[in-house]
Symmetry: C2
Subunit: 364 residues, 2 copies
Amino acid sequence: MAPAAEPQPTSGKRRPTISDVARAAGVAKSAVSYALNDKPGVSQEKRSHILAVAEQLGWQPSGAARALMGARVGLMGLVLNRPARLLGLEPFYMELISGMQEVLGPLDVALALQIAESLPDEQAVYRSWAAKREVDAVVVTDVKRRDPRLALLRDLGLPAVVLSPPFDRAGPSDFGPPGHPTAMPWLWTDDAAGMRLALRYLAALGHRRIARVAGTRSYAHTMARTAALREEAERLDLPEPVICSTDYSQEQGVDATRSLLIGEPRPTAIVYDNDVMAASALQVARELRLSVPGQLSVISWDDSMIARLTAPKLTSIKVDVRAYGMRVASALDTLAAGALVESGPFGLAGLEVRDSTAVAPEAG
Amino acid sequence: MAPAAEPQPTSGKRRPTISDVARAAGVAKSAVSYALNDKPGVSQEKRSHILAVAEQLGWQPSGAARALMGARVGLMGLVLNRPARLLGLEPFYMELISGMQEVLGPLDVALALQIAESLPDEQAVYRSWAAKREVDAVVVTDVKRRDPRLALLRDLGLPAVVLSPPFDRAGPSDFGPPGHPTAMPWLWTDDAAGMRLALRYLAALGHRRIARVAGTRSYAHTMARTAALREEAERLDLPEPVICSTDYSQEQGVDATRSLLIGEPRPTAIVYDNDVMAASALQVARELRLSVPGQLSVISWDDSMIARLTAPKLTSIKVDVRAYGMRVASALDTLAAGALVESGPFGLAGLEVRDSTAVAPEAG
DNA sequence: CTGAAAGCGCTTACAG
DNA sequence: CTGAAAGCGCTTACAG
């Protein structure tokens, strides 16, 4: 944080520059610059005098001038490319942002938030940010296979943290071997592990007909979940799970749930890709006179506040999104300082068991 | 949005400046500047030639250099000063932001988001932003009486949109008479009207013992709601409503609800200051074996997604937060352009009637 | 260790 | 209408 509330020298006046400080301290501009930036070139005595004068005058650095010199601008970029109407509904982002700010706030860096309507729009934002040096680094979410944004960011030389699992074991092309730091590290929560956990738990409860209401199909994290679901079902000798794709919205969640529940054979458990859809699923179950968890078990993803607001409360795959945000923020800071960061998974997925899951009806 | 995807001239290279454009076009730097900024001083012919060359070279303005000259920086500031852990829970902010971006995105301006831990921290952020010219204007929320931030922003000369109702009829001191545009306009949703609406509806259903679980007591909007509640209750000849203050969190909402419901006389209806607390109230009612809406009517505020996820769905005081955000954004843009904006209320409060309200038990 | 000077990329009076 | 020049606030070689 900036220094505590100082009385404004003379409000409305032009604010002091290093020339003013130099004049007041009786030294050269360069001496002031060295002192202020803690660089060699001034005696200890002069240094402290200059600092005192600067503080007394209420001097503050000009971000514009420093940015002109190529310094960090103290801003990280985040472009959200989901339809705006869905954003208010995703606690994930607010929690991510609040975790990021936990780290960035004390560093005095803010988050530049933009909402884009399309992938080209999002890329235009990156171009503009890179050209204007408006941000030090960006975070990229919802990555698709051969995502054009990644190549663009590399060309632009804009450091980025990619919030996505890699597409295969070997990892994406500009990914490098593990232990190889890069200016575009991938940092992901362990989607596959979360899915396996949920599936094993349901299987242990005797469920066999397990369905899934997934988010956007082309995202890497969706694909990671899907692959894990299929593999684990096979390993557990369960029938192939039915998967419905949605855009994460309440509406599509409701539709998918309804079609699953009126289908044959009816699943006894459904895993959802977010809390919002799982919560609306409860209403569909009620509408169809199916008791949860008696006749239908429901597992949600994210474990946001929503999972605790419903009745019954939702069993949820839990990721510590705030801690994830903090990790992402420190990666951004490292990149902004010109250093490199290693790719890798973040944290452990857990299962928060609440009241929406129970033994399968046949097994009961 | 920036122009569509152009192939990078030579990626990794130094990006072109107006000097490069001038050289390539065979004109003076000043001519380029005039042409690029659509100012007089170049012939039409040269102008279009310069524009073509600039585009061909992939020239982009340097935000830093322009900011040095005092131009707009294309960034609006929003400091959130609620505890970070509560932010993920407030759909209000995400909806406000998404509404703002609806307007700001096409203007190519981003939102600088900071989370502050305290009022002094928040003020430090404003000082720093003002000194570094890091934002063009800011939005201020959760205003208290004699809020020090307002005087600070005025002194700093940082234009601001204040998201709060005024404290009294005459309005705050730096508020000016209606119809008087200012660099610090107040824009508020009609809290008083929303509260009156809710109260009249409950009274019409026969409720008399009506309680309220309020948010932070010192905020102007909380006070506006409280005043409206008291006045309207008196007008309707109802007993004075009991009011519990909270910090908007689920936990405090639960505590307040429980203490109200085990108190004597027990209220037959409770109005909540947000959706989160109202949703958790349903769980307290269940815990105490009180049926909603049979024995207890519940009204929430905000009408976010949460109101539709609970069972029963919540009757909610509805404000079009996204539209509000759009209005706020255009006010910010006007201020950033150096013009003034009039203070005033925004939009109409409505009541979205769902399943959490019914006739009062005595009247049933 | 210190001081005068050039330069970052742009805008804007100021003479021609 | 055009061109050479100064300046925004800072940093950084470069001589003393």
